[in-house]
């Protein structure tokens, strides 16, 4: 049973997504309970899978019994299992959040929404587990198609944003496929483990380096790394409020995980272009992204757009962490990835409530929330503390390990970039807090609005998680060091 958990984790949401349009043709209200029960079972399965992997080591799952490298292989190792637990938990919390906001927000397209969410989650599971470069491409595209449709599901301004996202995303996927075909032409295999055995002899080959470049640009577009981030702010700003949290928390991070998989499990850390290690270049790009994203966030007026640029800057920080080429940095990056997923979800929950219940779109108006809802304000404060990286939250420990890793690698540019982006993050949250705490009451403040219990639950859960991840950072980082490190690091 436990050997089949990885396949089960993928198949349950996939079949639910396929059958939902038929089952819910007459009874549209069923879609929500089906989706919730699927996500609940996924949470249980993913935790069982995590415990199983931590106890008995990684599982190599060969579909329909064809042994790799001929068959398609799935690798359920520590990293995949940890990310999967975060993925299913955040998916469940987003669905709980979507209950009261979605009917108005989505223009009545409830069944479309739940079908696409389940499809997205099954595809993300596929990316996390894929042990085969072409398989990774297929799941990347399924996840991307579901995200384009989710961005545009409610129509209106989001349609144009979804179209741009689609054009750029497809360009990225084509470049990734081109990279895969270079690798295939050079090694004659698509299986990651098999390729990792052959590549050490071929690292000077121009085809491998060219393929690596194309793959990196392709995945860079998917993870919204700075020169390729143009699609993200518009898509996240205009997407429905019940869609943005799951996109912000999961899609870009899972694309980054795909890159980590290729970089560390297929190529190894020694790959270099003319004696310059590729990891160093990736780290430089990450530093650029961390600083530029934060600068752009500082100049925004729109609340959702500011958080979107904050997410772009944090992708850079995660990249800095994983590209230091030592254990401390890698584990810090992975830990920060988990934290960032939770923080992004929390921020976009808050932005969604602010828009749908209080009509607050810009930073000018944020003060209205402070008077009406102390709960939401405290959640915003906790999320901001995480984003800035203040001690009791997980964000602090993530950045701490990343900086330690960078110091260990004598990479002072990276240290400077993390510190600078922290300062800038502090600056743009100070702008919000200035509005929150220095707001003169006006007449419209008198009208109290009851926040639905589902929203309180989801916002409360993410705020708790930000702090719990910080308080338990020692044991969690210990487990990550024991179980998620790539071979040869």
């Amino acid at each position: 049973m436990s050997r089949h958990l990885p396949a089960l984790l993928f198949l349950v949401p996939l079949f639910a997504a396929i059958s939902m349009p038929i089952v819910c043709l007459r009874h549209r209200a069923w879609s929500r309970s089906i989706a919730l029960s699927v996500l609940c079972s996924m949470v249980v399965f993913s935790i069982m899978n995590l415990v199983n992997i931590f106890q008995h080591g990684e599982i190599h799952y060969a579909f329909s019994g064809w042994p790799p490298p001929l068959g398609i292989e799935w690798v359920a190792d520590g990293l995949a299992s940890v990310v999967l637990v975060a993925l299913s938990l955040l998916g469940l919390v987003t669905l709980i959040f979507a209950g009261p906001t979605s009917p108005k927000d989505l223009g009545g397209r409830i069944v479309h929404y739940y079908t696409l969410i389940l499809l997205l989650i099954s595809a993300l599971t596929g990316i996390v587990f894929a042990g085969d470069l072409f398989n990774l491409f297929v799941f990347l595209e399924v996840a991307a198609l579901a995200s384009y449709a989710l961005v545009g599901v409610a129509g209106g301004k989001a349609l144009m944003a979804a179209f741009r996202y689609l054009i750029l995303g497809t360009l990225g996927a084509s470049l990734y496929l081109l990279g895969v075909s270079y690798f295939y032409a050079e090694t004659g295999t698509l299986n990651m483990a098999d390729m990792a055995e052959q590549l050490p002899h071929l690292l000077t080959s121009k085809a491998v380096l060219g393929g690596l470049l194309f793959m990196f640009i392709g995945l860079g577009i998917k993870m919204a790394l700075v020169p390729f981030h143009a699609w993200l702010p518009d898509a996240y700003t205009h997407a429905p409020d019940s869609v943005t949290p799951i996109l912000a928390a999961l899609v870009t991070k899972v694309a980054l995980l795909g890159w980590v998989r290729i970089m560390f499990w297929v190529l190894g850390i020694k790959v270099a272009v003319d004696d310059t290690p590729v990891l160093l270049l990736v780290g430089l790009l990450g530093s650029l992204a961390a600083v530029i994203g934060a600068v752009l966030a500082l100049t925004q007026q729109d609340l959702k757009r500011m958080f979107a640029y904050g997410g772009i800057s944090h992708i850079g920080i995660i990249l800095i962490g994983v590209s230091q080429g030592n254990q401390t940095g890698f584990v810090g990056g992975v830990f920060y990835l988990l934290n960032d997923a939770v923080m992004q979800a929390s921020l976009f929950f808050i932005a969604g409530v602010a828009i749908s219940l209080y009509g607050v779109y810009t930073i000018e108006d944020v003060g209205r929330i402070a008077k009406q809802s102390p709960l939401l304000t405290s959640a915003l404060v906790i999320a901001a503390m995480g984003m800035i990286g203040l001690p009791p939250t997980g964000g602090f420990f993530g950045k701490w390990y990343i900086i330690l890793g960078a110091l260990e690698a004598n990479n002072y540019v990276a240290v400077g970039a993390v510190l600078l982006s922290t300062m800038l993050t502090l600056a743009y949250f100070v702008r919000i807090f200035e509005r929150v705490f220095r707001h003169a009451p006006t007449l419209s403040d008198a009208r109290p609005i009851e926040i639905p219990i589902q929203i309180k639950l989801s916002v409360g859960f993410t705020s708790m998680a930000i702090i719990v991840l910080g308080l338990l950072s020692d044991p969690i980082v210990g487990l990550l060091i024991d179980h998620t490190l790539p071979p040869g690091l």
């Binding site: 144009m160 179209f163 497809t170 081109l178 075909s181």
Partner: protein, 125 residues
């Protein structure tokens, strides 16, 4: 200089791939009509598929079905089937993407009454 050109023309499939890819990319960047952008996008996807097929081409080989059940298998006699299978999957993915893109286009047309990017951006403001 001459050697560089000679090396390029030794591999006409690479040259064709680069031309189709850049052509598609140029259309995607320069045209304002959304459907024309999709044509460019499809050209980019097709160029990668073309590249995959062209690297698996082999002279004097046949389809990967055993010529006789008893004779020993010589890999040189058969074409590698894997790139073709990948191509097939990539085509399916491309068609699905195009479907979503056309659905978005029709929704945009119903909302804004135009497919011209500049007009739509004017109406958005």
């Amino acid at each position: 200089m001459v050697e560089v050109f000679a090396a390029i023309f030794e591999r006409p499939n690479f040259l064709t791939f680069v031309v189709i890819f850049l052509w598609g990319f140029y259309i995607m960047v320069t045209r304002y009509n959304l459907v024309k952008k999709l044509v460019g996008m499809y050209l980019v996807q097709t160029s990668v598929i073309f590249f995959l097929v062209s690297i698996s081409a082999k002279k004097g080989a046949t389809v990967p079905i055993l010529l006789s059940p008893t004779a020993s298998v010589q890999a040189i006699d058969y074409v590698n089937p894997l790139p073709h299978v990948m191509t097939l999957t990539a085509i399916v993915v491309g068609v699905a993407t195009l479907g979503v893109a056309l659905a978005l286009c029709s929704a945009i047309y119903r909302t804004y009454g135009s497919l011209d990017e500049e007009e739509i951006l004017k109406k958005l403001e």
